[in-house]
């Protein structure tokens, strides 16, 4: 095998030709190299030394330098004991490992990983904890359904609400922002703990966090559309959200946030959209509800698979709800300002008949939320009695 670099410098890409030639011969076999640049001998000698190839200069002409390079064993030795980190496509056999070794680190799924690579501190490393066969589909759907807050909402629509109704909208938006902030932080925290081998799950959680970032943006913009200041944040509301943020177990956090919390929020957002006193409020809640439905779908999908593989996890999830209920027993739950604001938005005016009607709609909303939670609990495999009990123990703060 002979490589003629001609006037191509070793540092101008010539080394690629030499590497290619060396890969075509066996360890211990020799290739010839010729070239005419002044640095070739020095560069080739230095490179061979550092790469573990043997080098010797050969007698050459005045214009052309000649050398022989014998392939060393270092390049192949580096990959002794290496491992394929699964397979890239989830339809391939053994694509996703049941237990992802921490030494696979950040390697792309399917890459060959050098033995002795550093161990990363990921804590969620078992497929059963996080995986869903639907993750790739949900991610793809989320990626294609991303909307632009600037153009998707009719920010310039003309409307004028009674002062108190506008105040009620601002209060509800303030409450939604707080809740969506919790919904952004929780998946973000788990992304950092999740082994990247479970790529599709990581992507779903990332896009979920990005969804919440947009929700926070549009709710803030709606609140400030006619006002300079936001509404109230209560200790009880934050105490409820803090139990979610503090939950260290992925399955329980996902259950409380996505299945129960965001599931309940779906009803709330659709309610606000339905009662929306202005087109901007209607648009921001409609768009947010579309995204939240996906978050709920992923939570249900991976928990269903988890429960299928390990039915015992059901009691862990149920206990998570009970523990949270006990922690929040002495807090106020949903702040009265939010409840009142929802009622006023539903009523749309101070007339007695409209207020009565608004109150009935809010009560209907809480019934709808409860039924939705029970339905999702049954879909996960909880029986009727458990579904009723767990739904009733869900936080009064909705999320």
């Amino acid at each position: 095998m002979q490589v003629d670099l001609g006037s191509l410098g070793f540092d101008e890409g010539g080394h690629l030709l030499i590497k290619r030639a060396l890969r075509s011969v066996s360890v211990g076999e020799e290739i010839g190299v010729t070239g005419s640049t002044s640095e070739l001998e020095s560069h080739l000698r230095a490179w061979c030394r550092s790469e573990g190839h043997a080098f010797r200069s050969l007698p050459g002409g005045a214009k052309h330098y000649h050398a022989a390079v014998t392939r060393g064993s270092a390049e192949s030795a580096r990959w002794v004991g290496s491992q394929r980190a699964g397979r890239p496509g989830i339809s391939q056999l053994d694509a996703v490992a049941e237990h992802a070794p921490r030494t696979w680190g950040l390697a792309a799924r399917g890459a060959r990983v050098e033995a002795g690579s550093p161990e990363f501190g990921f804590t969620i490393v078992d497929k059963i904890e996080v995986w869903s066969a639907d993750a790739a589909r949900i991610y793809a759907q989320a990626a294609s359904a991303q909307w632009d807050p600037q153009t998707a909402v009719p920010w310039n629509a003309e409307f004028h609400l009674p002062e108190e109704v506008e105040d009620a909208v601002v209060q509800v938006m303030t409450y939604l922002i707080e809740n969506e902030t919790a919904a952004l932080i929780i998946p973000s925290r788990f992304i950092a703990q999740l082994h990247p081998h479970f790529r599709e799950v990581m992507q779903v959680l990332a896009i979920q966090a990005a969804d919440e970032a947009r929700h926070i943006e549009v709710f803030t913009r709606r609140a400030l559309l006619k006002r300079q200041e936001l509404g109230l944040s209560t200790g009880g509301g934050q105490a409820s959200l803090k139990t979610l943020v503090d939950e260290p177990d992925f399955a329980i956090a996902s259950f409380l946030l996505s299945v129960l919390g965001e599931g309940t929020f779906l009803s709330l957002l659709r309610f606000i959209e339905h009662c929306a006193p202005d087109p901007v409020t209607g648009a921001v809640t409609r768009l947010a509800a579309q995204d939240e439905a996906r978050h709920v779908a992923f939570g249900l999908a991976h928990l269903r698979e988890h429960i299928h593989s390990d039915p015992a996890v059901c009691s862990r999830l149920a206990n998570g709800v009970r523990r949270r209920h006990d922690l929040l027993r002495h807090t106020a739950g949903l702040n009265s300002e939010v409840f009142d604001a929802l009622l006023l938005i539903a009523a749309g005016s101070w007339e007695h008949s409209r207020l009565r009607e608004g109150h009935e709609r809010v009560i209907e909303l809480t019934r709808d939320m409860d039924e939705g939670r029970q339905e999702r609990l049954r879909r996960l495999g909880f029986n009727e009695r458990e579904a009723v009990e767990l739904s009733s123990l869900h936080t009064r703060n909705f999320m």
């Binding site: 070793f10 540092d11 640095e39 020095s42 002795g116």
Partner: protein
Amino acid sequence: MGNNTTLLLGAVAYDPKVVTIWDGFQRYFARHDLAFDYILYSNYERQVESHFAGHIHIAWNSPLAWLQSERIAGDLGRRAEAICMRDTDRDLTSVIFVRSSARIRNIDDLKGKRVAVGANDSPQATLIPLSCFANLGLNPGKDFEVLSFDKLVGKHGDHIGGEREAARALLRGEADAACCVDGNHLLFTQEGTLTAGSTSVIAHTSAYDHCNFTTLDGAPPEQVHRFRELLLGMSYSDSEVRPLLDLEGLKQWQPGRTEGYAALDAALHRFGTVDDFVKSVVAHCK
């Protein structure tokens, strides 16, 4: 010194990674039942003095420190031995290079010009190339001006800074030629300090060797033997040791050899670089 003696190695801390390297080797040796520890020195002269004072059993020596040790040992009637070295310590060359745009084609064209070199005590970037000039009839400081970049003297050129500064001085037009080891010329082109084609190599030295593990007579033979045996047995295919080999810049440890120090030895004879130091250590040891 009995079987329980902890083998003590001296190394020069030319870079913070030296601690990582020797901590790693210490763990490796411990796993293979060799009690081993190391002492870091800020410069090679202090390490050589310490070696002859009996503070360490093995010195990880630069080629200059090896020749200092060999001379001191000779004057004291003792014996210095190079027991092991990296594969990358063998057959280095230094290059003398100029701007491609300059009308300088060979060493003779540098008469009356300025040549940038590394630290005064750098074998590869100063002593061996300047000796090469002298061999070709051009005396440094007389037939051409020497521009030294004394980065971290005492480290014997282990720190790359002096060579990089010499290359930059050439590009700035402050020097007409520069000297460095072949691997650094390649590195400078890869990292962009020298753009491809901006310089031309007009000469290179003959091949020479670099560092080695040096022992003196009286070192605990069993531990030294085990140390050498463990090094020579390290395989690049072993994921446990590969990171250490990568950090230390080698693929395989090789037995020590001393014929590769002839060019530096000749340079030291010519310039008298280490004579005073050798005399002072010998006097102190007598």
